[in-house]
Assembly symmetry: C2
Homo-oligomer: 116 residues x 2
Amino acid sequence: MSEVRAGSLFAALPRRAAVERVDDLLAGGPFRLLRIVSSGQATPPGEWYDQDDDEWVVLLRGAATVRLADEAAPRRLAPGDWLLLPAGCRHRVEWTAPDGPTVWLALHHVAQGGDR
Amino acid sequence: MSEVRAGSLFAALPRRAAVERVDDLLAGGPFRLLRIVSSGQATPPGEWYDQDDDEWVVLLRGAATVRLADEAAPRRLAPGDWLLLPAGCRHRVEWTAPDGPTVWLALHHVAQGGDR
């Protein structure tokens, strides 16, 4: 890359949105950096994320609970709380705050084999 | 990596510290993820950062001004504001808030050639 870029993670936040909003901040290299804005969404019942990539994710605004498949109770996340989820670590978002945007920053370490 | 890890970017914040505090969150792969906590520190007068790596940096708490060498005026950063600084983009932190911690999250894309 060769140009300075700038933005705000808290700009253009949807107040209420029917679906999660996902914006790519960086992509194309060995990692992918995303801003995700939830508006009360959760992972659909019975579904789990099961990723090929390691993911580091931090909640920056709002609130959520995240359930890991091998844990009995969900984890409650407040602003600043981060999780490092290794590839293959099944997890789901059980709940996000219904009364305002929940902002996540997610860093995916793309598995060997190329850009996706 | 194989184990879930968790933490908070806002935990164990020094209230006032004589030097910036830098914590590695992720390292050893093609990128390095750092939490930096400033307590009023700035880049020493006349000095510039001039890095071999691309850096994506976001201010999450506090306030700062960052000067890019090819810009006349510094940029004021508030929580959520991020910058993508390509390798070789000379920059310096002119000021950080003196009255409380300024928390940064910095992602360095390590240049080709190995882990550092």
